[in-house]
Subunit: 456 residues, 2 copies
């Protein structure tokens, strides 16, 4: 066992009920939902409080042992793999909603609270938390990877919706960043520094989140387009017009074909936009009508929309089924999900070039986009044990990321770097990477916090 | 002259046309708009390009000479005072709007562009940039102090609206942070680290800003309240209801009295809310009507509102005149502006306690608040040469800041720390201050970047 025997002994002695070295537990904590090679930690510990996190971090630090914070393992770039062994901090027992402040529209949660758990606990309050990555991730993990999702075009990502944090640093110090004020000009923005740091600067233990009042009304709509240009151009015009769309999702023709097969639907097999509008009864109707006009001008087919919940569900069915439908296109294959984000004016060009590349590669890869933000995902369906196929996928991914960066975009809109996208950090950030290294060195001089991630 | 003679010689030799040691120029650069003691730099230089900034920073670094970035000197906490002498970088010649990307709703500006200049240059594009501190500050200064203003409740502060930066570090390295993508999960958020760092980590030279499409329609409204509780409670309900108000401003009774005197108006002398709504024609009417209902329920007097531009201007006249009207309450006095931000549920309590404290102190201090964010300003009208009066003002400010922090708020919502609010950093951030110091040390080991600011 690679971790120091003395450390192993004290941890299992002092935390007998919440420590595990069971191999299947170790293995479950060494991988996420991606195709990246897993790497199991040597020990998994389930801290129950800030004090326990501090104590365990201090002991790991004494033994210079890697620390890998873990939520539920739904990351997509190998973010939780214990590349150098060490102790995995599974935050699952720190799963309390600590405060719900109705009047201030904010909540404080422990890092192990999942987004659906939070949704349930907020149900009776009239509040909701808008950030919704596909998986039922923990708020700690979402903060650490700067997650977003379908609502980001209107409500922002974790970057905009985390008000403050409790973080245990590499030396065991507990700090509180930010606060409950909506804005502050007091000192360096440590909250934003830890948000997106993927466990490489400290263990996030608590998060103060900004919430929103549930909108009085919703409407939803769907519209298919003859070509991608029309769909994306419509999105640009809608955003420019300041329509406060809650969601605009694009599914490409292959994804629509997948959905038709999966759910026995008969959507046109062409690029399709899914919309959701939030507001008052009158304003969601107005937004829907304005959007209907705009999509028509851009070659959209009939725009179906509704303010009735049941009809909205039916309209969005295809979007909700997208992931499973895509996986079903090639049963037994592994999924290689990748995401980039570009300025919206380059989105058509980026998607078209990517689809052409995918077609030439012979890989099956449906595409779904949070297009209001210029963010899209490619789900490459590959036989992960077929080295040749994986090499082709690697090249498609490589060209996709380089294309996005060349267009002024980013190597990842919402999945994070993990170790999967390390090769692109220099290309994207240039000399900025050296600054990140200096910050890492200042806060974690012995490189024990999730080593091998984020920084090349 | 305290700066090294050799440095002085090479700078005046190599930058003969854009360097000054004229005493009145030096003095103009040693103070901002606050009451804080000024401190003139030894030399002012007006760089014209990134390369010049890099070159001059390198030379200053060689001579271990302080560097103080300067916009137009409208900060309020002594942020530009050259406390240890050195070279002031007046960014006024780097005043070009470099790119306007209509389709992406973003612009790139040099740090010396002022917000009104940007407004003019955007006039023909259908875009606007929403962050509006009172002064016509530079975008560089606004970024450095994490400024906000009246629109922040809807559009966010500089924190939310800066997409990326060019920054020259203390060793002369130029880095580019962020990018043009709306979101990114790629590495540490350096953009947010420099935003709000007040020149202590580097010289910001260019800023990529997020803009918005001009709303199709505006409406504005005004409503006075019998008491402060009713006014603030109405604001809470409006925010909770998700009404996307563009602005909600509170003026207290003293401020309303000031406005009446200054502009010969006859508003009720009581707490008054000013509203602005952005959206489609129908939605601004709807928002106005919903707000009318809510303010009525909370004891508001008749809610006057209009969608006509001229009437809107008249309704908002009092708010626009607020600063000058307040100053006119005590001609010849200096202004001691201070601001804090608290969770909105504590706003009434915080304002009432503050007003009581002010009344007891005998100081004249009108109060204006960006209340949708829980942020308010007190403008203490004091004889700055009267030591006794200043001591009283210092104590009022001290109690105000401590009160705000005790309520989970912050020592400054939008003015920054400068050196005026240094004494409160430990109280607000605790161990977090040590983390800030480590970051400062990592990026500016010789403490040449705006020394004496932000960090105690």
């Amino acid at each position: 066992m690679p971790i120091d025997e003395a450390l192993h002994r004290v941890l299992t002695r002092d935390y007998p009920d919440n420590t595990s070295t069971n191999q299947s537990i170790l293995d479950r904590h060494g991988h996420d939902e991606s195709y990246h090679a897993p790497a199991s930690p040597d020990l998994v510990i389930f801290p129950r409080s800030n004090e326990e996190v501090q104590d365990i971090v201090r002991r790991c630090a004494e033994h210079n042992t890697p620390i890998i914070p873990f939520g539920v393992g739904t990351s997509l770039e190998g973010n939780v793999a214990a590349l150098k062994g060490g102790v995995c901090f599974d935050m699952g027992l720190m799963n309390r909603v600590l405060e719900i402040n109705d009047a201030d529209l904010d909540v404080r949660v422990e890092a192990g609270v999942t987004r659906l758990q939070l949704e349930r606990e907020l149900k009776s309050t009239g509040l909701f938390f808008p950030v919704d990555p596909g998986a039922d991730a923990t708020l700690g993990g979402m903060t650490a990877t700067r997650a977003s999702g379908t609502n980001a075009v209107r409500y922002g990502t974790m970057r905009e919706n985390v008000l403050g944090l409790s973080v245990v640093l590499a030396d065991g110090t507990l700090i509180k960043t930010g606060g409950r004020a909506r804005k502050s000009a007091a000192g360096y923005d440590l909250t934003r520094l830890f948000c997106g740091s993927e466990g490489t600067l400290g263990v996030i233990t608590e998060i103060q989140l900004r919430c929103f009042g549930l909108p009085a009304a919703h409407s939803a709509g769907v519209c298919s387009f003859g070509d991608l240009q029309g769909a994306v151009q419509a999105v640009i015009v809608i955003i420019q017009a300041g329509i406060p769309v809650a969601r605009i999702e694009l599914l490409d023709d292959l994804q629509m074909e997948a959905v038709n097969k999966f759910s026995s639907l008969d959507y046109p097999v062409s690029p399709t936009l899914f919309f959701e509008f939030h507001g008052t009864q009158a304003s969601v109707v107005e937004q829907s009508e304005i959007v209907a006009e705009i999509v028509k001008e851009h070659g959209g087919a009939e725009f179906k929309w509704s303010t009735k919940q049941e009809e909205q569900n039916a309209l969005w069915q295809a979007r909700h089924d997208a992931y499973n439908a895509a996986r079903a296109l090639r049963p037994g294959s592994g999924g290689w999900p990748t995401d980039v984000c570009v300025p919206i004016s380059r989105l058509t060009e980026c998607i078209l070039a990517t689809k052409e590349d995918v077609d030439e590669s012979g890989i099956l890869a449906p595409l779904v986009g949070h297009v209001g933000d210029g963010n899209f995902h490619l789900l490459m369906l590959v036989a992960t044990d077929n080295e040749k196929e994986m090499a082709v996928a690697r090249q498609v991914n490589d060209r996709l990321v380089k294309r996005a960066i060349a267009m002024g975009g980013t190597s990842t809109g919402e999945h994070g770097i993990g170790y999967g996208k390390l090769p692109y950090m220099e290309l994207e950030h240039g000399e900025g990477v050296a600054v990140m290294h200096r910050i890492k060195q200042a806060l974690d001089p012995n490189d024990i916090m999730n080593p091998g991630k984020v920084l090349p």
